[in-house]
Subunit: 248 residues, 2 copies
């Protein structure tokens, strides 16, 4: 991995994730995309719709990582408190963004009301920039190194793709997987030796019901290929047929 | 919610969740089960296979919440570093648990090796207790208020059910949902009023493509019923047919 690669964290805001009602789908998408951009996702936190929890987690993450992506809590209902909390964390006022108000007025007409206008709220400051999405009239926004995104996965993805070109990139992290009908305990010693021989590749081992999936990740494709060849040979040596493929 | 309810956090350990390769499935299961046990899941963190990240997160969580559940990193391969990190966090030595060694010796016979024996490692101390699973010869364990579970969802669930009877319980949190073909922005004002009238119920609003799902949670079933009745009436008042059902 490149030493100087930018880092990132995701802050997932929502009681519904912690209660088990909703399965998060944003970490896997954003995680994969950040890998291709060479940005290292180093932590995720899931917090409830509680101001102190949101503000505390946001301040911890934004002072630790290059970028923070928040998801959830930017809708029109009483439980959407993300913007109020972001403003608290940055010690700024909440203001209504005139461009969003204009877009909402055109879109909603008579149906525009106070609740919907809350979706035009952003923290005050000339550095706050909107993140548009074709799927939602209510935008996300960037404030300093924090990107505030919707929780609904389709909208979060649109917003991520809209902001992605603005991110500082590192060397892209590539990956390959080798699957085989082997048990982790039978390959662990050789795999550990391969890891030691290739410190610039991160080798992960993931057991399935009757097989094991080995994933090699690195910014260096040639080193990945060398690891994949050794892992495949290791599997053949104990009678398993390795299947090499792309790894998300 | 009951003031004195026990609290909990989940610490998910694994590069594969952050890279997007693997979709976590343990938060939703454990989150739902904790709700029924009256234990309030207040935070989840996902960290990579990096000792400083694991130790730092574990120490933050175990000193904040009644219980911490970790998932992942207790297999036989080089990337399984959870037990070493748990021992570091508690400033204890790692020892091989004789009961697990005996069970593994009987189970694996000639196939028992150093890698598999790593799965018998636990932090030292008379208070460390094993958490058995019918699906895995390698157990999880409890140390103080921390429960160390497998990452594979089927095994994590077995281990959770095995330890669940030992947990201190609070009043169970019940929930109901009301779905209707309404838009959040059209119901937000009335919903906010209902929330204000029922402060002991947590009301969440979750938009879908063409409908909205309102979820009411509380330890008090009668209060949930009152909220559900008001939400259903609110939907009928704007021409939508509410569908009331159980909410996970």
């Amino acid at each position: 991995m490149t030493e100087a690669a930018p880092t990132a964290a995701i802050l997932i805001i929502g009681d519904e994730i912690l209660s088990g009602r909703t399965q998060d789908a944003n970490v896997s998408y954003i995680g994969q995309r950040l890998s291709t951009l060479g940005i290292r996702l180093q932590e995720c936190r899931i917090v409830p719709d509680v101001p102190a929890a949101i503000v505390g987690a946001l301040n911890a993450l934004r002072t630790t990582y290059t970028y923070v992506f928040t998801t959830g809590g930017i809708g029109p209902t009483h439980d959407d408190i993300t913007t109020d909390c972001i403003a608290l964390a940055f010690e700024r006022q909440v203001v209504r963004h005139p461009k969003v108000v204009a877009a909402m007025t055109a879109y909603f007409g008579d149906r525009l009301n106070d609740a919907r206008l809350r979706m035009a709220n952003v923290p005050d400051g000339p550095d706050v920039t909107l993140i548009d999405s074709a799927l939602s009239i209510a935008p996300g926004y960037r404030i300093e190194n924090v990107f505030v995104l919707a929780g609904v996965p389709s909208v979060a993805r649109e917003m991520f793709e809209s902001l992605a070109p603005t991110l500082q990139r590192g060397a892209a992290v590539h990956s390959q997987s080798v699957d085989g009908a082997v048990r982790e305990g039978d390959i662990a010693a050789v795999l550990s030796r391969i890891q030691t021989e290739h410190p610039r590749v991160t080798i992960g081992s993931y057991p399935q019901e009757r097989s094991t999936s080995i994933v090699a990740r690195s910014t260096d494709k040639a080193e990945i290929a060398a690891v994949v060849a050794k892992v495949a040979q290791m599997m053949r040596d104990i009678g398993a047929e390795p299947v090499v493929g792309p790894a998300p």
